[in-house]
Symmetry: C2
Subunit: 332 residues, 2 copies
């Protein structure tokens, strides 16, 4: 059973997946699917994944059969397992918790070798729909405090299967990065009675230099203090704390802007590997006045991970003004 | 001139090195020295680095000539520049600071292709001496709030030159990871009047399962909630907040244990790339009662950086108990 452990010094939880790597000889192998010839996410291979949880498919087709355009399935090698109550245990001064959670995969297309940004806007829109549906469903389970949605595209960004997919992990804790954003935006709200993200958007719109692209409802900016070259955030221009209660009527515009940004990166940066992470307010916390959901896209421009990963301290050789200008100038 | 920028939402400073990558065409190239045939850190190439700041060399040899066993030189491509006062500027709601600082390289051996752990213990001892000397010297400059010492070994861990070296960056801010440790250890001290690291060491010594190796003065443990497989920390067994005021008499024992741990990793994990980061109390902060300096060593076992880098949220497939057992069993 996987375990969540808390660092005894700082407020950081880590998932220790003890099921894997039980024997020393198993350890140094990274968990990459090297079977290049066979892909369980492809059309007609529906039987090779666990049974689907959700699918967009013709009305008359049956579950786990071909014909779908998007499928959500449980991760075959989950970081957390869905069974069991959350048990909190102390080990002397240390703290741990049973690793109950959910780990699902959103397969955004039946076609292999097509990147998310190459798909029709409709597929991206459906992905956002699927994220929302799964989040709403999983939040009914009050063991889960946060639903983390992210995408690893390309091996260097951590993808273990090439076929385009996103992932969802339901967690019994709120991850540190969300906690920090929540604390900071709450402080700002207490002082100013305004959402800090709305303030940032207003300043960015006035300044213009870090805007990559925008439409009626959403804006894409290179943030003022980016950790990574070409890091780009997509935010709703109106105040909205929770992705999962955001009006899905706006998803066509969100899908359009997301595809636009990913295509610009693809063209400007020679199809880079990338990660995106959806940041939203945790379930059952009253963050509605002050938090603002958004998507952070991080292309992986350098092979080097460096010491940044261990320190949270970043050196970035590309200013966000230059990155935004470069992406803006791309003609699609 | 490089710039430090603060994220407008959370407490995170980032160095933006605007000197580099000024033109879009410069951007996608990572800063790796690909001139495999020539190495500026090798014996007899002293003229190819900026003039040395410190060297261990025969009494009668002159600076920047061969014969040395360890050299400290300014980084030729510094992340921060040493000139200029620290200027703090607001840009609307955003904050920035001029990027004054120092960036130095500690070349631990004149021989190319030898890893730190393959060198005689004396070279490691000299490295710790050099770190200390440079830290004490740079702390006299009250523009600098923190001296960050780290090593990137291997390209996948961010090394841009193969020849063994560590780096030192003097910063006008205290990095987030140190701030978090300081805040947490101060809270523990206020409540218990004890150092939290001393408490952790006591529990680990009682438990034994996560100890890799120890000697009279230092201990190496796989921490209870490690972010990375085989992450290992080396700490003094006695209370000491600052590496730079630690009795250098103990450096032979520190060097011996560091070499021991790195050799165990080398043997167990097939010469992995790794990062180490020295954590110490910031200058001019009274952290002596509650902080505890230590070294964090993070082998880079997987190619994947994944979304962890962007979220501070970690999934680790190797328990620290298994990692410690594996490293303990290695015969050197």
């Amino acid at each position: 059973m996987p375990e969540l452990r808390k660092d005894p010094i700082i407020d950081r939880w880590v998932i220790i997946s003890t099921e894997r790597g039980k024997r020393p000889s198993d350890i140094p192998s990274p968990e990459i699917n090297t079977q290049k010839s066979f892909c369980p996410f492809c059309n007609k291979n529906e039987g090779k994944t666990p049974p689907e949880i959700l699918a967009f498919r013709p009305q008359n087709s049956s579950a786990n059969s071909p014909g779908w355009t998007l499928r959500v399935v449980p991760n075959k090698f989950p970081a957390l397992t869905v069974e069991g109550e959350i048990e909190r245990v102390g080990e002397g001064m240390f703290d741990k918790m049973s690793g109950s959670g959910a780990h699902e995969v959103i397969i955004e297309s039946p076609d292999h070798g097509v990147a998310l940004e190459e798909l029709p806007v409709k597929n991206l829109e459906d992905s956002f729909w699927a994220f929302q549906k799964r989040m709403v469903d999983l939040q009914k389970d009050d063991r889960f405090r946060y639903i983390l949605v992210f995408k690893n595209h390309g091996e260097a960004a951590g993808a273990t299967l090439e076929h385009t997919h996103s992932q969802l992990i339901a967690l019994p804790i709120v991850p540190e990065f969300v906690n920090e954003e929540l604390a900071a935006s709450r402080r700002h709200y207490e002082y100013k009675e305004r959402c800090i993200y709305c303030d940032v958007i207003a300043q960015e719109i006035g300044d213009e230099r870090r805007i990559v692209h925008q439409n009626e409802k959403f804006i894409a900016i290179c943030p003022y203090a980016p950790r990574f070259p070409f890091e780009t955030w997509i935010l709703p221009k109106y105040h909205s704390a929770r992705f999962e209660s955001n009006g899905a009527n706006d998803f066509p515009l969100l899908a359009e802007l997301t595809k636009d940004i990913l295509l610009r990166m693809r063209k400007a940066l020679n199809s880079p590997p990338y990660n995106f992470v959806l940041h939203t307010a945790p379930a059952r916390i009253d963050a509605d006045p002050y938090y603002h959901w958004h998507i952070e896209i991080m292309p992986k421009m350098t092979k080097v991970a460096g010491f940044e990963q261990g320190t949270g301290f970043y050196i970035n050789h590309t200013s966000p003004e230059l990155a935004a200008e470069t992406l803006r100038k791309i003609s699609l």
